[in-house]
Symmetry: C2
Subunit: 446 residues, 2 copies
């Protein structure tokens, strides 16, 4: 069996052909790889690190099963000696990383792997696959959180997420960035994330009239009655809720909210708020969904639209305005010597690095410095040891703890970034020590 979520074959073929070269030539010295964003997408002023927990699970679990080795043998591309080598292969390296929830920028490594070259190389594809996506979504979610202060935000994106893993990882990443929860049920048992839901149009349509649908739904789910009111006529449905509410209350059922999912959400929300308020339902909240993103959230916050919470789906789970960011996992040192890729437009800063962050007296971030690991500064170092010889140095933090830390990180952002502006850009300085190292490598190489 090939496990489609855990298989070591979740990698690119060239990792295995290269490994065969490394093993055959005895290139098994210590290698240092770093994962970083080359530059931020145009639409992002900062990123939020996420996915480390899944990376560490993957590294701890790394091994070739009999079925995997058998399939590799069947391709005829690999020698028996090499397959024997793979059979014994485990990840025994060190990992340094920024904690999940940390804000970061271009050119800053957020994870460093130090391991024998074949091990460090093999894990590249899945490691990028895991870190890139959760970071992408945590960053998008953080923007939503900043754009809608005090609002109740729920991930609604599973159906449009790129597969089940994407849907689950998006639920996790958005929750750690400050969302209240998700509609994806499996994220409850798998990650302990609060799950929320209302009702769909089909429930209303399956009934002969809307009032019966509302009454039936409330009776069946008395704990969390949020009624969808836009199937036919939004304001008419709001008036039906006002009529229905006293009867439900008599039966001990509390209507918590209504949901609007189409049309001009702001306009409907104002009218519905008025209808509910005039009907004495001031406590009933308005929840909105349908093509929500941080740009709309900010506009509605500015216009004080009376919507209390939002279900954010497609734009969150696909990070639709920036569905990827330019990132890489690159060799920075081999056998004790710093290395540097100089390909046009893709050159990297060499050697093991650290990122230091300086804060003002008000606790707001002032600037970051990327430097060589040995060039110790007094400011806050962002990369910390999390795994040694393939074992974690401490148990995983709870998702609640990560979420709290991420909130502190967002609170320490400069005002421009909190307002989702990209100007002025946050200062990331490359230290003189690092520049000198790069120059000396360039002078020596070829």
């Amino acid at each position: 069996m090939i496990d489609p979520t855990r298989s070591v074959l979740l990698t690119d073929l060239y990792q295995l052909t290269m490994l065969q070269g490394y093993v055959q030539q005895g290139l098994e010295d210590t290698a240092v790889f770093e994962f970083f964003a080359r530059k931020l997408p145009e639409q992002r002023g900062f990123l939020v690190a996420a996915g480390l927990e899944q990376v560490l699970q993957f590294l701890e679990d790394l091994h070739f099963t009999a079925a995997e080795l058998e399939w590799l043998a069947s391709t005829g591309k690999f020698s028996g000696d090499f397959l024997d080598h793979l059979k014994a292969l485990r990840f025994r390296g060190d990992v340094h990383a920024m904690a999940e929830g940390t804000v970061f920028f271009g050119d800053e490594p957020i994870l460093r792997v130090t391991a024998p070259l074949p091990q460090a190389q093999l894990v590249e594809s899945r490691l990028i696959n895991l870190l890139h996506f959760q970071t992408l979504i945590a960053s998008k979610a953080a923007r939503c959180v900043l754009a809608a202060p005090g609002k109740f935000l729920v991930d609604f994106g599973f159906r449009r997420a790129h597969g089940a893993e994407a849907g689950l990882a998006a639920a996790r990443a958005s929750y750690l960035a400050g969302f209240a929860g998700t509609s994806t049920v499996a994220a409850g048992p798998l990650f302990g994330i609060p799950t929320f839901g209302t009702m769909a149009h089909s429930f209303v349509q399956a009934h002969d009239d809307e009032e019966t649908a509302f009454a039936d739904f409330a009776a069946a789910n008395p704990q969390a009655v949020v009624l969808l009111i836009d199937t036919y006529d939004t304001e008419a449905a709001a008036r039906k809720v006002v009529m229905l509410e006293p009867r439900l209350r008599q039966r001990g059922i509390i209507v918590k909210g209504v949901r609007i999912d189409s049309g001009d959400l702001a306009e409907h929300a104002r009218k519905v708020r008025r209808i509910l308020d005039q009907g004495g339902l001031r406590e009933v909240t308005i929840f909105a969904s349908s093509s929500i993103d941080e740009y709309l959230l900010r506009e509605y916050a500015d216009r004080r639209v009376p919507i209390d919470g939002y279900g954010i789906g497609t734009h969150l789970d696909t990070s639709s305005d920036a569905p990827y960011f330019d990132c890489a996992y690159k060799l920075q040192e081999y056998a004790g010597r710093p290395r540097r890729k100089r390909s046009e437009g893709k050159a990297t800063w060499p050697g093991r690095k650290q990122v230091y962050r300086r804060y003002g007296s008000d606790g707001v971030m002032l600037n970051d410095v990327v430097t060589a690991e040995h060039d110790v500064h007094e400011d806050r170092p962002l990369l910390q040891a999390v795994m040694r010889d393939g074992r974690r140095l401490s148990p995983p933090p709870s998702l609640a703890a990560i979420r709290e830390y991420a909130a502190q990180e967002l609170a320490s952002l400069p005002q421009a970034l909190r307002e989702l502006r990209r100007e002025p850009p946050y200062p990331v300085l490359i230290s003189e020590a690092l520049r000198n190292l790069a120059d000396s490598l360039d002078a020596r190489q070829q």
Copy 2:
């Protein structure tokens, strides 16, 4: 255990709260839901259906495990009676669908589920999740195939795909749309897709010089020597390949190609082609990667850039210019009566539908007609029965057969669509029968 790829909890919470309502109220009559694209993204003139096989597997497998029921019970949201009902729940419905690889357009259902309401409702979230993503990628891949006639295209996108399932599904969807294969190893054993790979910059960097790296890689992988030549100086590396090749040939090792992964790919390719040709290596192919998409492929085809194959990663696996399309799975009939959602901007055509396609004498598509199922036309009907009472009507077609069929579909596209133009749009006609049905429902409802 909650299986993160197969769990029935890969759904939205409201499906379960609605189900509780349906079951409690005895709303278990036959429901008909259809999946369709509301409209095409601006960047797409057509879509290619994909993901049906995974949907059918999901429906066949649908059940609640003891662990899932236990977790649901622990939430306190569901009654014991309802959980007992879920314990026995299986999918026993019918499915009609367009074959994978079929070209389709907005307003056309590509899948119809006919089943007792709770069953048809429960499967919505995962069914959309599966169909939307593979269709998204098959459509993007088809554009690449059309833009690069005769070129060897390989999916390189795993690392930037949104999780492992997305990477695997993208390998499958792009292969069925005409790609030669993928670099994602696990797609080999899981789907029988050919896997390809070259080498990475780190392999070159781990060696003290580029020539030794080339020789080592060739010796370790004599069957498929494609050398990456852009780590330091692309043209200098091409000359090294010319120098090295005779020595490798003496040892029986054939250099198949070189890969360029940075800079101006067209300019490098012309220079490298000249160096290889002058060195007598006319048979050595040039393979390029780095930010490839269909727009670049078309430009290079027009300019006759001497590149033989492309590795297409991020833009393919995230469908970066259109990372989602607006699609829905909507109730069209309940208990024998057609239903229609009228929400602003989201109204649907009611009832069970069929799509007919008319062809010219040259085999090119002329137009489609969407109509009510009972309104039988003489043209080719695109929706076919594939599952009855929860069982497939025939074994799954091979991926090779789907790929061949998809190639025929692309060959029958009107010239404008083959050239990736959106004008003139392909004619999709809504039949009079369907318009009349919608009007009569609107007149009756409220």
